[in-house]
Amino acid sequence: MPVDEPHRVVCHLDRLLEERGMTLAALAEAVGVTVVNLSVLKNDRAKAIRFSTLTAICDVLGCQPGDVLSLDPGES
């Protein structure tokens, strides 16, 4: 049974890119996905992420998956 939206996963690409002085376009080129898709991820509009994409992002940014994504505690 699929889980209904909305989710509470928050993406921290904005902060990671700023800390490294990197642009979204440069990351997209290094990772091998389109800027549009990375923008969707950065703005929390993505519904899912491939492990391969996450691995490539972590490799390029030198971080762990938990640095890229975290769970908003929300009201619970």
Partner: protein, 205 residues
């Protein structure tokens, strides 16, 4: 078939030329049905020709009786020389219903083909159209076939004295249409699953 790059790679690929040809074929089928089932009887009505009605009844063949060979019923074509307007209209009903169903099915097929060609086949309207097409084939076609029975009965009862002869009608349900309808219903279910898969992929990075 036009020799496009895609058709060279996949001989079963359904390209634009195939779609146009298929729509043309379906349209031709509807036109031929309209001409044969409605146009010809209407023309006979205008010209004052007799109204033919098929019926089954027992037949007597003395030569076969003498030889002791068994035989069954025969198909008769009863011709009404001067039928009323009501009888003429009644006789047209099955043909008109058949043409309406064929035109409806054609329109549904064209709409589904258009959705597939646009690259959005797994949308809810496509599933709804496929299920409607399944109902038209699996339910509509047999209903039209059975509607003919009371109409033929009314036609014969209104103008014919069977004289004690047992009169019956042949029931021949369109099994091909029923099977095709069930197949289209299965196809619609596949489109439902395809829609779910598409929803899963949407927003995937």
């Amino acid at each position: 078939m036009r020799s496009t790059r895609r058709s060279r790679q996949d001989p079963w690929g359904f390209d634009r030329t195939d779609r146009y040809a298929f729509v043309g074929l379906l349209g031709l089928v509807v036109l031929v049905q309209a001409a044969v089932l409605v146009g010809v009887p209407a023309g006979a009505w205008v010209q004052g020709d007799p109204l033919p009605v098929r019926m089954l009844g027992p037949v007597t063949v003395p030569a076969l009786d003498a030889a002791g060979v068994g035989y069954g019923e025969a198909s008769y074509e009863v011709a009404f020389d001067d039928p009323s307007v009501g009888l003429r209209l009644l006789a047209l009903v099955p043909g008109v219903l058949t043409v309406v169903l064929a035109a409806w099915a054609t329109w549904l097929v064209v709409a589904v083909m258009r959705a597939v060609a646009s690259g959005e086949p797994f949308a809810q309207p496509t599933v709804r159209r496929l299920r409607t097409l399944a109902a038209v084939l699996a339910i509509g076609a047999p209903v039209v076939s059975f509607v003919e029975l009371p109409i033929h009965g009314a036609l014969l009862g209104a103008a014919l004295d069977p004289g004690g002869r047992e009169v019956s009608f042949a029931v021949d349900p369109p099994w091909e249409a029923v099977v095709a309808g069930l197949f289209v219903a299965l196809l619609a279910e596949a489109f439902v699953v395809g829609g779910r898969l598409r929803d899963d992929v949407e927003g995937l990075v």
